[in-house]
């Protein structure tokens, strides 16, 4: 497919960038990104590519990952990558075995989120549509055919997760306020609820606590250390065999990761 070639790092003269050039470039990246699928097909981990990390360090880290991980799925880079990666993996794990103890528990918690949200002062009528998109994903057919293929539905799920996060932050604010640099209300209004805002660890913690899931994130950065894994919500992993949401972080972006035992 012929597509306009975006400037490579070498072709950009950073000293001479005008605001307009930056905006044009950002628009170009955004438009190209919007052509990509929300969630890509599963692929082998050795094919994972990142263009802005020093390649030597990066390939060393991919080699490390290969020891315990077999594959990945990419998600669109639109500022919702954490929510999208998380929810895809969450529903994929659920639909793989809906009758497992873990899945039953997850669905029960999921069903109850509407009550949690209304207790955090969200009006039921204004959130019902999003709740419906979210609950539909517990159905394998809908999960495969709509939840992550249709932008509107998928954004509804992303938004509903943002509301779950927002409600958890409001209801248990004493757990989170110490990590914030601005008042909770303004943090939620600016950083949590609007689509396209990246997550910080606070949002990850809130999602983990609200849905009682364990998330394990592999951090692939440009430092010369080994791949760093950080587990959120280890207490929710009741036994070693219960599912964990594995994600892959590269600076500014989250994708999904599949470990050998999955």
């Amino acid at each position: 497919m012929d597509s306009p070639k975006s400037p490579t790092e070498n072709e950009i003269n950073y000293g001479n960038l005008s605001d307009d050039t930056i905006i044009d470039y950002e628009t170009l990246i955004k438009e190209e990104e919007e052509q990509r699928p929300l969630v890509s097909e599963y692929d082998d981990i050795s094919n994972y590519k990142v263009n802005y990390i020093d390649s030597e360090i990066f390939s060393k880290k991919i080699d490390q990952l290969k020891k315990t991980c077999k594959g990945y799925r990419s998600v669109r880079k639109d500022g919702n990558c954490f929510y999208r990666s998380f929810s895809y993996k969450y529903f994929e794990l659920y639909n793989k075995n809906p009758s497992s103890k873990w899945s039953k528990e997850m669905k029960k918690i999921g069903e109850n989120t509407i009550n949690v949200l209304t207790s955090a002062n969200f009006e039921k009528e204004t959130i019902e549509d999003f709740y419906e998109f979210f609950m539909d994903s517990y159905d394998e057919k809908k999960f495969k055919e709509a939840s992550f293929t249709d932008d509107y539905t998928s954004n509804g799920i992303v938004f509903y997760l943002r509301l779950i996060c927002s409600a958890e932050l409001k209801l248990n604010h004493e757990k989170y306020e110490m990590f914030l640099e601005e008042p909770l209300e303004s943090f939620i209004a600016k950083q949590v609820e609007p689509l396209g805002r990246d997550v910080d660890n606070v949002q990850i913690m809130a999602i983990v606590n609200a849905l009682k899931v364990c998330i394990n994130i592999a951090y692939l950065d440009s430092t010369d250390y080994d791949v760093n894994w950080i587990k959120f919500g280890e207490e929710y992993q009741k036994d070693p065999s219960s599912p964990v949401i594995n994600l892959l972080f590269t600076p500014g972006h989250y994708d999904m990761l599949y470990r050998d035992n999955e």
């Binding site: 009006e123 509107y152 539905t153 938004f159 209004a189 609820e193 609007p194 689509l195």
Partner: protein, 153 residues
């Protein structure tokens, strides 16, 4: 427009229209402009006790296909002298910009705009002349009425 997206936003806006009509909130209303559900005309009345009392303002509401995940574009079409409204009718209101959330709807937007009229945010004015005059209500009111009636800023 993607077909499913079009259907989704249409369904959402139909529901909103129904709710808005049933709620019958005094002082605010909105209705699709024609057959195009993505373009509405809204009306807000200035609230009692404000310099806008007795005046009625028309607005244009344009909804993107991914509404409500992206905010609608809203403009005053009746000339409005106000610190946060420019001479073209553009509005500076945080919930329509960086604080937009998909839980908002036409009703909450119209009510927010109605209260913005009486409670401007003078720290980030689009119309600095109006912001400076805000503390002189009599002079301000004269200007509001003149511009509302003549359209001459």
């Amino acid at each position: 427009m993607n077909t499913t997206e079009g259907l989704n936003v249409t369904k959402r806006l139909q529901n909103e229209l129904m709710q808005l009509m049933m709620a019958g909130i005094p002082g605010v209303s909105a209705f699709p402009e024609s057959d195009n559900l993505l373009s509405w005309v809204g009306t807000i009345e200035g609230a009692p006790g404000t310099v806008y009392h007795g005046l009625s303002y028309k607005l244009s509401l344009k909804f993107p296909v991914n509404y409500p995940y992206t905010a609608p574009t809203i403009k005053f079409t009746t000339p409005c002298f106000h610190p946060n409204v420019d001479t073209e009718g553009n509005i500076c209101l945080d919930i329509l910009k960086d604080k937009w959330s998909a839980v908002y709807n036409v009703q909450t937007i119209l009510l927010s705009l109605q209260s913005l009229l009486g409670e401007p945010n003078n720290d980030s004015p689009l119309n600095t002349y109006a912001a400076q005059m805000w503390n002189k209500p009599e002079e301000f009111k004269k200007q509001v009425i003149k511009i509302h009636n003549t359209g001459q800023f």
